[in-house]
Symmetry: C2
Subunit: 353 residues, 2 copies
């Protein structure tokens, strides 16, 4: 049996559950090792069931041969899920409370009647996904490698007068020639004052000399994501931008050097945050320091000051401090790290800062 | 007051509701006329509240000036939603049952205690969005226009030996130079047997002579989407492919000529489906005939044989019959139509079939 399915089944036994309905595509993709879309996945002690519609059944049959029964949905998938659960004599069926809409929960519950119970759970699969296997790290590294090349390419494309969206266009093309199947999110190219919006939507603003240009880019390689941010400068960098840039760089170092197994996650965020505050920019770094990355662009662990969990070997996440000065400019530097036995490896270390 | 907000507030009064919590980004974008991300929106009889985190608050303040209070979330947004609801003395708060996860529902409910009630609703906003305003149709037309040019461009790029993903790369670049902010979904370039998977993931397969090449592409123009499919042929078309192609074309015509206000939606789907069945390919057209399109790539109305609703002037949707022969090839032709007083206008009519 596949070790991932084995792990999930052990978890179910631990929690006194005999079925597990998954609805988050990334969790389904993780357990099936197949890029799942528009599907539900039911894990039971003996069999697994993959529910999808006619658009995907042929593909799924080829991909999941032997590991799950493919059930072609027609009419209400929720009624079908309930029927299959009852036929399999499941009694206590876990579901993903953060990923199942209220209406779907109600419909499945109605279908089960009194014969079986839906039990809310969260992070059952996410906790497994947190700790990356060697082959998962290899895919993330490849995604980072493509992104790194794309950032090098960006340097050649950037010139005053070009629109932000035109840089996005060139990057979207380039990454696919390097083997990415897609960008991992809308690539952000934010020029001048637009960089003060952490999630700027790239548009028609033309790049100017003497302004910072922020590029936040990630790609998808065989389902695994990368996520990196660099700030470029055209022409002369003003001393105020330089100062903020150096502070963000140092804040990132402060965080990275504290990363090691068994460290409290919140402390990593606080290390960067306190450094930025000590330099007088505490009010201008609003978001979390980072986030886990893998099959999803944002996954566990959240690198937030409130996270009291512990770091563990094989976790992969971003470290991305930022300072955003409204109507002026913003600086964010984002790298991806892998927690190792002795500390961490910065997977994107080769990309110039 | 904005007419959209006015419409929603009238609906609330009709349904004896005094608050409405929106969680679907497209619905929030519709009511705020702002490309909403990672937010919740609470409409109340007197005020509206827009909940988002520090990444978007500056942007939202500029965009929503006067129409909503921006509430910067920190900690649990659900607790904050409950608090604001109670402070505004709301008693019966509608929520989107298909778009609010079970856990979020529970958390808001807990926050409200016994002082207010959450009422499940669906399609309140979607029903309004179904009927497109003139300026919305204009944006969809522009998105279609860009897509049309991209399909012309594709013809120039396609050549034997090119990989599917390379065609995607060129299209992803090209649409942004024409004014699209993004593709509306992962562009599908499916060559030869890959075209038999309705939602093929474009990959490294090389295009060959004598095979059909299916391209399904849509773009985002100021938030509005297009969605079009054409099949190209390199070299000689085999007679079996030609036959299927002609059947799909005729099936589409059968459906389109029936489109008019007050027609039962299911009949449109059935017209195409029955035509395909009459030619012996009934088992090879699994998906619905079409779907509404606008702020979302798939929205109401669903053009499904089970939809007993009526067509109405100003609805915009796709008509996309297909025949998929496993391990051989698939043909789909997809256009976008606007229901008019007399029948319909095929918004993508100028694109060669």
């Amino acid at each position: 049996m596949d070790p991932r399915i084995k792990n999930i089944r052990s978890k179910l036994i631990e929690e006194n559950l005999d079925g597990f309905l998954l609805s988050l595509p990334a969790n389904i993709s993780y357990l099936t090792k197949y890029p799942s879309r528009d599907s539900y996945y039911l894990v039971s002690p003996k069999n697994n069931f993959y529910f999808t519609d006619s658009r995907y059944t042929e593909e799924a049959k080829n991909a999941l041969r032997g590991s799950a029964s493919i059930i072609k949905t027609n009419g209400s998938v929720f009624k079908m899920i309930a029927d299959v659960s009852l036929k399999s004599h499941l009694k206590r069926i876990a579901f993903e409370e953060r990923h199942l809409p209220f209406a779907e929960y109600q419909e499945i519950k109605r279908g089960l009647g009194r014969k079986a119970k839906l039990i809310p759970t969260h992070s059952l699969t996410e906790k497994l996904r947190c700790l990356k296997e060697t082959q998962e790290v290899a895919k993330i590294k490849k995604a980072i490698n493509i992104t790194s090349k794309a950032l090098d390419f960006a340097k050649k494309v950037i010139s005053p007068g070009k629109k932000e969206i035109e840089i996005v266009a060139e990057l979207e093309r380039y990454i696919r020639y390097l083997g990415a199947s897609n960008s991992a999110f809308d690539i952000i190219v934010a020029s001048g004052p637009n960089s003060s919006f952490p999630h700027h939507i790239s548009g028609n603003r033309k790049i100017k000399n003497g302004e910072p240009l922020l590029i936040d880019i990630g790609v998808d390689f065989l389902g695994y994501k990368s996520d990196l941010t660099r700030v470029f400068f055209l022409g002369r960098i003003s001393s105020s931008v330089r100062e903020v840039y150096d502070i963000v760089c140092s804040a990132q170092k402060e965080a990275i050097r504290r990363i090691k197994p068994q460290e409290i996650i919140g402390k990593i965020d606080k290390a960067a945050r306190q450094y930025i505050s000590s330099k007088g920019y505490g009010g201008f770094f609003g978001h979390n320091l980072g986030h886990g990355i893998g099959l999803e662009i944002h996954e566990e662990p959240q690198i937030s000051s409130k996270n009291s969990g512990l770091l563990n070997t094989s976790m992969v996440f971003t470290i991305e401090p930022g300072i955003y000065l409204p109507n002026k400019f913003g600086i964010r530097i984002e790298d991806v790290v892998l927690v190792t036995e002795k500390g961490c490896e910065v997977l994107s270390a080769s990309i110039h800062k």
